[in-house]
Subunit: 188 residues, 2 copies
């Protein structure tokens, strides 16, 4: 009988963190910021493999503060309210514990383009168009990744490596599409 642990069960004593909670702690390790800025940063940097919405970020920051992992204080910009958060010592420890944890990391992919390709025998005349559409999407993604990489010189190893991996796999995807497109177009 397998003694299956719950995926997010914290290892004795450590606070339970949601996946988004972990991501937010990570973002705060890059410097103290507001919920709004976290969203901007996510959209610029990790969105291709980890997205987040305001509806998730703001409540999560509150929960993290309740757990003592982050500390927030008001830093209004003129009359415009602004709440800035930073990691506490406990938060930094929780972040390090996560990074060192050997628990199977969450991996979830839902790719409708691939699903369309999988079922493309039903409508073979659409197959080439589907692959072209997938390639175009990947080209857009590559463009954005490359645009961010333009700041590579100011990047530390973590983000730089992640970005490079993204670029490499995206390029492979595009090359595969090009090769298959050529093969399919030839047959016509």
């Amino acid at each position: 009988m397998e003694n299956a642990l719950e995926p997010n069960l914290a290892p004795a004593g450590e606070p339970a963190l949601t996946p988004t909670g972990r991501a937010i702690l990570g973002m705060l390790s890059l410097g103290k910021t507001s919920g709004y800025d976290i969203k901007q940063l996510v959209d610029k940097s990790t969105r291709h493999f980890w997205a987040a919405s305001y509806g998730q970020i703001y409540p999560e920051l509150k929960r993290l503060e309740d757990q003592g992992l982050v500390r927030g204080h008001e830093e209004p910009t003129g009359g415009r309210p602004r709440r800035v958060y930073e990691l506490t010592e406990a938060g930094r420890a929780a972040l390090a514990a996560w990074l060192a944890s050997e628990r199977e990391p969450l991996y979830e992919l839902r790719d409708e383009g691939m699903l369309k390709l999988f079922f493309s025998d039903v409508l073979p005349e659409q197959r080439l168009a589907n692959i072209r559409a997938m390639r175009r999407r990947m080209e857009r993604k590559l463009e954005q990744l490359v645009a961010v990489r333009a700041h590579a010189h100011e990047m530390s190893p973590g983000p730089a490596l992640t970005l490079d991996l993204g670029v490499t796999t995206t390029e492979t995807f595009i090359q595969w599409c090009e090769a298959v497109e050529a093969r399919l177009a030839e047959k016509e």
Copy 2:
């Protein structure tokens, strides 16, 4: 002002389909089966880019039947109940409409391994271990993909191409890991 359409809004007259509903219609295009068999097939074939659980499949089959897109009837195996579904004409048309649709396909990725790499500057001594863990996971995935590919000769183009794309990108991922691991190990 952008006139943003709801993602799943059906193009006038066509039945609204959930993402899982589309996947189920696709699976039924491969032949009539039961909910149980759909789950087995998904786990064997599309799970790396499109998973499904019983809790989703059974209610969805019922909804699809209510919409007239599939038709189910009892086909017990001895005393063991079994409900087998097949596409109706309307279902086949909905499937074709989906495959031909130019709506931006759903793409969702949540990869905690990448997130760990992104924040690895907080705990640089774990970086190499994180990358190794990612490579091991990808090697397991590749193994499963290759195992399915052993039946490639009996596969039609759709599944075969999808599988090939999966193998190609996974191999690239692994090669990237190997290269970076070598670079990091050298520095130590």
